[in-house]
């Protein structure tokens, strides 16, 4: 005899909950392990170090600049891919995925080589990039922007095209229809794209290590700090800095989400 439907449904829901529970437990477990390994004293010590304060400041500012730049690029690219057909579109689409699938070290190495080419040297002669702060932002941007582009593409794909078409019949140019009708609807997507780009940029390590180095008080960002502290055997400081990054990420996520909810995104 078959079981009643609600009993069978309970089994299915339990199956879903089991996997959700396992993964959530893994994530929380990692955070709890960090938090219990370190003491408030370790955190304060980390914050008292001038080098770590510099790294934190550079991490936060470079990630924010990267996130803004990424959204600035991702909005037009995402819209172009979502709303237009052109020759070579699938090629462009494929190229835009390269930073997502390429190993991070390879991205750093490629940037380093690019800036040793004649073009790169011409840029370097005007604005020094390699092993300096601009290289940190460029290394972060090279990866983060690809994630922002994907998010914006999906955002525009999900927005109905009809209101935009109506705007055209009302006398709007394509640019006016985009600015006045479509872009205001994409606020939530742009916020998600920015947050994703920001989080990727904050955690960026490999490309920065290769392209910018990890020079203290110069190009050291928080992930480099973790690596530097670990390599000198200072596990407490490494964990404390990791926790700082977790706290910074949570603060930005919660603040941005609250802002988004208030604005109806």
């Amino acid at each position: 005899m078959r079981q009643p439907a609600d009993k069978r449904d309970r089994g299915f829901l339990a199956f879903l909950a089991l996997f959700a529970g396992l993964y959530v437990a893994l994530i929380l477990g990692m955070l709890v392990a960090d938090a219990t390994y370190t003491t408030p004293r370790d955190l304060l010590n980390a914050l008292e170090s001038e080098e770590i304060r510099y790294a934190a400041k550079l991490s936060l500012t470079s990630s924010t600049i990267t996130a803004l730049l990424s959204v600035w690029f991702a909005v037009p690219i995402g819209y172009l891919l979502s709303r237009t057909e052109f020759t070579g579109k699938s090629f462009v689409d494929g190229v835009l995925d390269i930073p997502i699938v390429l190993p991070p070290m390879v991205i750093g190495l490629s940037l380093l080589i690019l800036f040793q080419s004649p073009l790169g040297e011409a840029i370097e002669s005007q604005v020094p990039v390699t092993y300096r702060v601009p290289s940190v932002i460029l290394a972060q941007f090279a990866v983060s922007c690809a994630f922002a582009v994907r998010t914006m593409r999906v955002t525009f794909d999900q927005l109905p095209v009809r209101p935009e078409q109506v705007a055209l019949t009302l006398g709007a140019s394509r640019a006016q229809a985009f600015w006045r009708v479509t872009l205001p609807q994409a606020g939530g997507g742009a916020l998600s794209a920015g947050l994703l780009a920001w989080a990727r940029a904050l955690g960026e390590f490999g490309p920065i290590l290769v392209f910018s180095g990890a020079t203290r008080m110069k190009t050291e960002v928080l992930p480099s700090t973790v690596w530097l502290e670990l390599s000198t055997g200072n596990l407490e400081a490494a964990v404390a800095v990791s926790l700082l990054m977790v706290l910074a990420a949570i603060t930005v996520l919660v603040t941005a989400r609250a802002l988004g909810v208030r604005r109806g995104w």
């Binding site: 109905p160 209101p163 109506v166 705007a167 019949t169 009302l170 006398g171 140019s173 006045r180 009708v181």
Partner: protein, 220 residues
């Protein structure tokens, strides 16, 4: 304004439209009927310039508009379910066409107020479209399309989602707007009642082509 389709054909993936020819005289209220999926909405999109025909010509008052952009055609469009702009207030939607034309703000405000009153949505001007009823959405979409005084108005099942009371009311409203403005209307519907009530000309998709008749002919 006379609407004229001359042997228009279109290929869009699996969808084909071939040899569509018809003419709607200036000031007529044409109702286009036909089975689901036969291309009624596509005809409206072709007229508005949202799709380009593969072959054939579209004329408005004798002028070839086949290659004109939607903005240059001056055809008012009320799509199915309104397709209101989600982030603009009702007043901003109605004033949209005049604002993109850089009309003086006083003129925009006056026209929005006038249409708000005419369509019975004057009390909603400051509201976002979110939470409007089906009838209200259609009225706002109609006001938005009428704001720039188009000579041609395309309506895609504007009464489809309305209850019976609202249906009658909207029918009367469309009739009076048509009589007052003298706009040439092309109205797509499934409902024979709607056609009977509104049409001065009937267009019917029959085996791939459009047959034109007057309502009286139709009754016989």
């Amino acid at each position: 304004m006379v609407i004229c389709f001359d042997s228009v054909a279109l290929n869009q993936g699996d969808f084909h439209l071939s040899n569509v020819s018809f003419e709607v005289p200036a000031g007529a209220y044409a109702v286009l009927m036909g089975p689901t999926g036969c291309g009624k909405t596509t005809v409206l999109e072709l007229l508005c310039g949202l799709r380009a025909p593969l072959i054939g010509k579209i004329h408005l008052d004798g002028a070839d508009v086949t290659k004109l952009s939607p903005a240059a055609r001056g055809v008012g469009y009320v799509p199915q379910d309104g397709a209101l702009f989600p982030k603009l207030t009702v007043g901003e939607q109605i004033g949209f066409a005049l604002r993109v034309r850089r009309a003086p703000e006083a003129e925009v405000v006056a026209r929005v107020a006038e249409l708000g009153e005419l369509l019975g949505v004057g009390h909603l001007l400051g509201r976002s479209p979110h939470g409007l009823s089906g009838g209200e959405r259609q009225r706002v979409a109609l006001g938005r399309a009428l704001a720039f005084r188009p000579k041609v108005l395309c309506l895609d099942e504007p009464l489809g989602a309305l209850d019976e009371d609202m249906h009658g009311e909207m029918c009367a409203l469309l009739k009076s707007i048509h009589a007052e403005s003298g706009v040439t209307a092309l109205h797509v519907t499934h409902s024979a009642n709607e056609a009977e009530e509104l049409a001065t000309q009937l267009l019917r998709f029959e085996s791939g082509s459009i047959r034109t008749s007057t309502p009286r002919e139709n009754e016989r």
